[in-house]
């Protein structure tokens, strides 16, 4: 590093312009420092960290859960297994592991709506939905989902009629919950991949109900 800062010139590539370079936050610097310390001490392997980030950025996400839901919609026997022995049925499609070791799938019906929360931290079925979104981990959601689920859902755009029962699942132990949304009307002739493509992350948390068109 040189102590003299080159003066930016007109037309200079902004990627190299020190004035426009993004300054790393204190947090980013602290994390970088911790990582380099742990690598130096031989406590972690940096390429293992890359592999973990890569897995959750590209491989382990809500498309997995959507495949389970679509299978349940087209295969009644699978759906029965999914609702009675969720962990094994999900493993049939190859989804297992960290924070999905003990799964329970709960089914939405015209008269019942399920909503998942973790009031104490932010437990979430990682193998099926990936890492949780910020709103799921927020203080507002964790605080309010149990006392005012209907208000929270209204805020998220879902106004449930009074005669639908709302069940909130507070993930206080190592059981992880996935909502099996209702198959939307108008999809009777859709293929399993087409069905999977219409299943949203939020519908599998219970923060949404699916509609077509």
């Amino acid at each position: 590093m040189t102590s003299t800062t080159p003066k930016p010139q007109a037309g200079h590539d902004h990627d190299h312009d020190p004035i426009h370079q993004k300054v790393p936050s204190d947090l980013a610097l602290r994390v970088r420092s911790l990582e380099s310390l742990l690598v130096e001490k031989g406590l972690v392997d940096a390429s293992a960290l890359d592999a973990i980030v890569e897995a959750y950025e590209h491989r382990i996400g809500p498309r997995n859960g959507a495949r389970v839901v679509a299978r349940a919609w087209v295969d009644a026997a699978y759906k029965r297994r999914l609702l009675t022995d969720s962990t094994s049925a999900i493993a049939e499609l190859g989804f297992t592991g960290a924070q999905g070791e003990h799964m329970v799938v709960v089914e939405n019906t015209p008269k019942l709506h399920n909503l998942v929360v973790c009031t104490l931290c932010s437990c979430y079925p990682l193998p099926l939905l990936g890492l949780p979104p910020v709103w799921y981990k927020s203080q507002a959601y964790r605080a309010r989902a149990v006392i005012d689920p209907r208000g929270v859902l209204r805020e998220l755009g879902l106004d449930l009629p009074e005669d639908i029962e709302v069940r909130v699942w507070d993930s206080t132990a190592e059981i992880r919950y996935l909502v099996l949304p209702e198959r939307p009307a108008g999809t009777e002739h859709w293929s399993e991949p087409e069905l999977a493509a219409c299943v949203t992350r939020d519908s599998m948390i219970g923060a949404d109900r699916l509609r077509i068109g």
Partner: protein, 219 residues
């Protein structure tokens, strides 16, 4: 511990901060913090309950100010120091102490896939008589342990119905304090929303919690 992490039922927390098309990580350091937590846990110096408890020990005002991954960073540093994998002065300098022996990381890239796919089941194959049966009315104990517990304040002293017996699971209250797994039965208990929140709530609605046997008493 009656800590700030036990948020269920609090009000005045503002709107739910929903974001469309949210990235998995907003900043690359968040991904590194998440990965550092996973990778260092492979040393088996602590367990999932201990790391949750460590995050609960963040002072309340700090807890509310911090982002999710910032809490994970702070708690990880505390666990690393507490278990003597690193020293406080190494954290401050960012360098290994002179003469420190270089170790071999237990988690290599080839082991990441199998580790994530295997997870760490918390059930235990232990023959034990269940104290409660499905359909039985129970009450969550009015208890206020100062350590880690997974019985939220909003359910304490409230009555519900056993909806399911999940089997025998590691007990977080003892495991978080490194006092052993002490496995026991875990139940799904249905609490009517009106039992928890009063008669102005919809009479159909309910909250289900997963509660260990020792959190419950017969009615």
């Amino acid at each position: 511990m009656n800590g700030i992490h036990d948020l269920g039922g609090m009000q005045d927390m503002g709107p739910v901060p929903y974001e469309k098309a949210e990235p998995v990580f907003h900043e690359s350091w968040e991904g590194r913090v998440f990965a550092l937590n996973r990778a260092t846990s492979a040393w088996r110096k602590w367990n999932i309950d201990a790391s949750r408890f460590q995050r609960e020990l963040i002072p309340p005002a700090e807890y509310l100010r911090m982002s999710y991954y910032e809490r994970w960073l702070e708690a990880l540093i505390e666990m690393l120091v507490k278990t003597q994998l690193v020293t406080r002065s190494e954290i401050e300098s960012g360098r290994a102490a002179p003469g420190a022996v270089k170790l071999t990381p237990p988690l290599t890239p080839d082991k990441v896939g199998p580790l994530l796919a295997r997870g760490a089941p918390a059930n235990r194959d232990l023959r034990s008589q269940a104290a409660f049966e499905v359909g039985q009315p129970v009450r969550a104990r009015n208890m206020h342990p100062e350590g880690h517990t997974r019985l939220p304040r909003y359910a304490r002293g409230k009555s519900g119905i056993v909806a399911r017996n999940h089997g025998v699971f590691v007990y977080p209250d003892s495991n978080a304090l490194f006092q052993g797994e002490q496995p026991r039965h875990l139940y799904s208990v249905r609490f009517a929303a009106q039992e928890l929140w009063g008669s102005q709530t919809n009479a159909r609605d309910a909250v289900y919690l997963d509660l260990w046997e020792s959190y419950l008493e017969p009615l």
